[in-house]
Amino acid sequence: MQSEEHLLVDEQLITVKDPDTGKETDTVLTDIEVPAKPRCLDDEYEMVYHKPKTMVDVSMHYCPGCAHSQFHKLIMEAVDELGIQEQTIGVAPVGCAVFAYDYMNIDMSEAAHGRATATATGIKRLMPDKYVFTYQGDGDLAAIGTAETIHTINRGENIAIFFMNNAVYGMTSGQMAPTSLVGMKTTTSPTGRNVADYGFPIKVSELIAQLPGAFYVTRQAMHNPTAVRKAKKAILNAFKYQKLHKGTCFVEVIGNCPSNWKLTPVEANKFIDESMVKTFPLGDIKLPSTEDLKLLEQEK
């Protein structure tokens, strides 16, 4: 069913050229014909994709093109595919994703700023057979919550940490984050992040991969279809590996924040490709051993 909100999304910006003068003007095309029944339900169309069932069907508060919505969706797709909705408990951060529990149709706890992994520790220790994950931004996980991040992973808590690195404090409107790139202009580094005052962007994945408690560490992105597929696989792994009880699974995702980067979503994704991945190279940083993977096969 299409709601009114969805209809709004169907508005199109088109450029009309005057045949006489040749002048181009932008206009919004609003009178799009909406089929009475969504086309996907027509018999002649085959359903090839639908929103994950564990997503709540509401419109999100995220800015258009924001990576958070995509990341949420991939996590919920993984929960769907693994059929673990009943066994999964999520922990939301303080940051733009503070409302994650409005969108994820699973039991969730909203944690204090930076303390998500402590909260998750409390949950997982008492219910070791459940799947527990945190979802955190860079300010949350790598600034105010650094101690919790490191100690949770050092204890090898059997949780998944989903880390959205968008190199800014999104929620508080674009202040410098510990992951902001050198030279990146933010509201608190108006002339660009300078190393003399603030050091280099912190590479959390590389840092925590040093800890024996980290079982699986990977850095992914979501700025193009290939990246999305890889990120999805990493998320699936992070859930699956929890069954082994061998340590923390850490999935960093380089995401955009178009609003605070002052870029369109398309430009923002280009920025990831051209700049972000230079500081934060994508790929696996720590992988389970073949023996561990064999164990996982046996578990099945």
Partner: protein, 354 residues
Amino acid sequence: METKLMKGNEALAEAAIQAGCDAYFGYPITPQSEVLEYLALEMPKHGRIVLQAESEVASINMVYGAAGAGFRSMTSSSSPGISLMQEGISYIAGAELPCLIVNVNRAGPGLGTIQPGQGDYFQSTKGGGHGDYRLIVLAPSSVQEMADFVFLGFDLADKYRNPVLILSDGAIGQMMEKVTFGKFKPKKIDKPWATTGKTKDRERNYITSLHIQPEKLEIHNRKLVAKYEEIKKNEVRFEEIHTEDAEYIIVAYGLCARICHKAINIAREKGIKVGMLRPITLFPYPSERLHELAETAKSMLTVELNAGQMVEDVRLAVNGKVPVEFYGRMGGMLPNPEEIVEKLENLIHNNHAI
């Protein structure tokens, strides 16, 4: 029933096990480290969870997670550590999670000293962290009460979905006394709101203290206020000693109340008609009873191990009916009973009424 000789902190820890505490998270600090030490050894024997966290900030947020999942959870610390927990406590109160927090109060401010103090009264009873909230605050004055209040604390926490604080002090925590176990049984209740995994037969559960729309937050605030009023109606606890004929009333809690009890005995021998009201719950406060006592008493003396904190609540309760004086020691120093009697006598003689 079993009677043992135990330190206050150990009695409290043992009571936690007997009261069905599922999880304890803590960080070492004198004078309460025995709680973590005792539980580190004993909890695993009962298949329970005990974890030394990286800080008090982490401890309280672990409690938040475990309590949100419906488990009996607790932490303990001493003053500086409790200060660090305040944000988390505010979240717990906002999200209405039941849990038990123990403060073995030491003297401050700052790093202060490891000796006993009551300087955390304001922090404990007026909210402590940010926003409008209250803890149910229990003030033990013996090793026995260190144990008993754990049972009571967990039950009250569950009943009201509210954090409960046991406000003890360095002396009660460290001293050894007889303590009897077996009087109480844990009363565990269902927690259908807990984050245990969304089953098909119910909507998802989420734990949060966030209500971004002011209209909704005010509704939530009102609900909390109504709950605090209910607590005030039902849960006021106090002890009275020789108040029947008392012309003078001493008000003191915790360790101070024990010292004052002795002072009262000495004063009575000298013919001074003095009694004591010992608040057991510091929130809710026994204001009504104090108000009644002010009908017959000539004056009141509040004795505390601080610069004068609870005395404000006594004055509010008495509302100007009789003079309310204050005597306090600080810095980890304790008054001796004779000192309190002298203070009482001076006030009576110099001032007629205190």
